[in-house]
């Protein structure tokens, strides 16, 4: 984590952003020379904090801290695809564009989630906070029309392997990192710090 003091935070007051603290830090640029001392260019340091709303997806990210996995479902009787269930959470039905109904898929996940595909890599980009190697998995559920991307915290990824969700119920980040997966049968003592079965 950054050692910068007083990094910016934001509250919503009367429906408006109310930022406080520092949202950027200024560092001097530096020249880029070659061996002979000839100038080729400069560095341009940037340290900016962005503000981002989850809008209609906020319920999904908020529910993770309570150990619940929320999806959505089109319940518009006039929609040709009424009943389609989405995980990842979609605010609106992509067909009729009506607002979807939020559905709790925690039980469905616990009883039917299996690995659809996976990938293991030691490579990550800047700002990664997941332990390496990362075991990416895609999870399919009974009765859900889409396939969720996630990471497997405990166990070996195999296509068809049953998995269950785990949640960062302690010190949540309110990001997708609050959700992870373990192979079915994993003991609570094996979960990463701050995670529980919900």
């Amino acid at each position: 984590m950054s050692g910068r003091a007083d990094r910016g935070t934001v509250k919503i007051v009367n429906g408006r952003y109310r930022p406080s603290g520092h949202f950027h830090y200024i560092d001097a640029n530096t020249p880029i020379y070659d061996e002979s001392g000839k100038l080729w260019g400069v560095t341009n340091p940037r340290d900016i904090t962005h503000i981002h709303t989850y809008g209609g997806e906020a319920p999904f990210f908020e529910a993770l801290k309570d150990g619940r996995l929320l999806g959505t479902k089109c319940e518009n009787p006039d929609c040709d695809y009424v009943g389609t269930t989405y995980m990842p959470f979609r605010i609106h039905c992509p067909d009729c564009l009506a607002r979807n109904t939020v559905v709790d898929l925690t039980k469905v996940a616990n009883s039917t989630a299996v690995i659809h595909s996976f990938m293991v890599t030691e490579r990550t980009g800047a700002f990664n906070t997941l332990p390496k190697p990362i075991k990416f998995i895609n999870v399919e559920f009974d009765g859900v029309d889409t396939i969720l991307m996630g990471s497997l915290a405990v166990g070996d990824p195999i296509i068809g392997q049953a998995v269950v969700p785990i949640f960062k119920t302690q010190d949540p980040t309110f990001t997708i990192l609050d959700l992870s997966w373990v192979v079915k049968g994993t003991d609570a003592s094996e979960l990463p710090a701050g995670f529980s079965f919900g």
Binding site: T124, A126, F136
Partner: protein, 474 residues
């Protein structure tokens, strides 16, 4: 299961034909600190002018509007870079617009340029693409590329795009590749082929003389993909000039008829829903009935194994240009070989082979300049430029580079543009002693596929010699 309306499946019918008259490219490299982007763009434009024996200012006098492909603003820390380039090319006050569709940016730029001429808005247009991925270190670059995934649902997971992509490769590997060693070797053969062809291309920066074992023994990126299975990350520029028929024949005796179509699919593979396979002209509705029996797990379409956007781009483009069977009707292709396995997936999406049988395009020897089994010319050579694996992937330029490479074969000028000692010297590269002329003899028609990431955008561009066009049914 999702379905499309007939209106949505209408085959595009343009108001007038469009022709490609010339194109040019800069040197490509992993890092080119000796040049600003505008210098690379001017290199590409100058090559395009010289190709027609025109000065840059003579060629500029034809241009009526400009289309600029540049994907990653944040890499260059410059918004509206298009305005900078347009000014440096001295094209103000002509109208111009920036286009960005990830890895398909180059193809999409041609798509926009094509429509501008086809509609009658402009008689001559510039399609110019570039990318500059060398101004942040690789780690930060990986993060920036991962920003092209869903920022809330994917990017925080490792900040590594390969993670969102390779899950599809894994599924294809297990379902259609059946995790076989022989399939792994076929993947590796693509890397050997493309890096090998790159040796004969002075623009290329991924040239290597390697073996299948070298690919299989290279560092693992994400099983089954190793370092040598993956495309390059590049800096460079490429441009094309498109015209209406009258202007085209004024500029050259052999302008190439160009058709461009596009398809799309979800940014998150997670959002893909099942549907019936949209059929290409060389496929029948019953041929995929037993796909799930022959390849267990292969009955979910597009699932994680097919690129629907590529299928749709081919669906429209083949019918626009009159292509029935790409292997019979085309003489060469340039495909978006981001990874060896996605190259195989694309063979199926665009109908070179049926779904499940993509590997045969390589194993039969059809994809080579010279079929290694027979010593005869390959039936449909692929990526003689070296592709993204051997030549370059300077994102905004890639799709345009592919089209120029195909065009130079149809113009029968491949050797001139790739064999010139002076070009090798100017790029600071040594022409190999065993340099080989890869000109596809008698090439009349070709195809280029430009593809974004997990398949969010794909374009198909078909070039035809003006005297050898197929019968159009649209």
């Amino acid at each position: 299961m999702i379905k499309f309306s007939e209106r949505q499946l209408k085959i595009p019918r343009m108001c007038r034909p469009v022709y490609l008259v010339t194109g040019g490219m800069s040197k490509f490299g992993r890092a080119l600190p000796e040049k600003r982007t505008e210098e690379l763009v001017i290199d590409a434009f100058t090559e395009a002018a010289r190709f027609l024996n025109l000065s840059p200012s003579e060629l500029k006098s034809y241009i009526h509007s400009a289309y600029y492909g540049h994907f990653a603003d944040h890499f260059g820390d410059q918004l509206l870079g298009e305005a900078v380039i347009h000014d440096r090319l001295g094209l103000d006050p002509l109208g111009n617009v920036g286009i960005k569709t990830g890895g398909a940016t180059g193809g999409s730029t041609l798509w926009e340029a094509f429509k501008a001429v086809a509609s009658g808005y402009s008689d001559t247009v510039l399609a110019m693409g570039w990318e500059r991925m060398d101004e942040v270190p690789t780690d930060e670059g990986n993060h920036y590329i991962a920003c092209a995934a869903d920022k809330d649902w994917e990017t925080p997971l490792g900040h590594i795009y390969t993670g969102y992509y390779a899950v599809m490769a894994q599924k294809y590997w297990q379902v259609f590749g059946k995790s076989e060693d022989s399939f792994r070797r076929t993947m590796a053969a693509i890397a050997v082929k493309n890096r090998g062809y790159a040796r004969f291309n002075p623009h290329a920066h991924g040239a290597m003389k390697i073996t299948i074992e070298d690919v299989i023994n290279s560092p693992v990126v994400a099983h089954p993909l190793n370092a040598l299975d993956c495309c390059l990350m590049s800096v460079g520029a490429a441009c094309a000039i498109l015209c209406d028929e009258e202007t085209a024949f004024k500029l050259t005796d052999t302008p190439l008829r160009i058709d461009v179509a596009a398809g799309s699919h979800t940014l998150r593979p997670a959002d893909r829903r099942d549907m019936e396979i949209p059929l290409l002209p060389n496929e029948s509705s019953d041929q995929y009935k037993d796909l799930g029996e022959r390849f267990p797990g292969g009955d979910r379409y597009p699932g994680f194994t097919g690129f629907l956007a590529a299928r749709m781009a081919a669906y429209y483009a083949y019918r626009m240009a009159g292509v029935v069977d790409p292997t019979e009707d085309l003489d060469l292709v340039e495909l978006h070989d981001a990874f060896t396995i996605s190259d195989i997936q694309t063979y199926e999406d665009i109908g070179i082979r049926p779904y499940g049988e993509g590997r045969d395009y390589v194993e039969s020897g059809d994809c080579y300049h010279t079929n290694p089994h027979t010593g005869e010319p390959g039936k449909l050579p692929a990526n003689l430029s070296g592709g993204l694996i051997g030549n370059m992937h300077a994102v905004g330029a890639t799709g345009i580079m592919q089209v120029i490479e195909v065009a130079q074969h149809i113009w029968n000028r491949w050797a001139e543009m790739h064999g010139d000692e002076k070009k090798w010297q100017a790029f600071g590269r040594e022409k190999p002693a065993d340099w080989k002329n890869l000109q596809v003899v008698g090439a009349k028609r070709g195809l280029a596929i430009s593809h974004a990431g997990v398949g969010s955008h794909v374009t198909a561009t078909i070039l035809s010699h003006p005297d050898h066009q197929l019968e159009r049914r649209a």
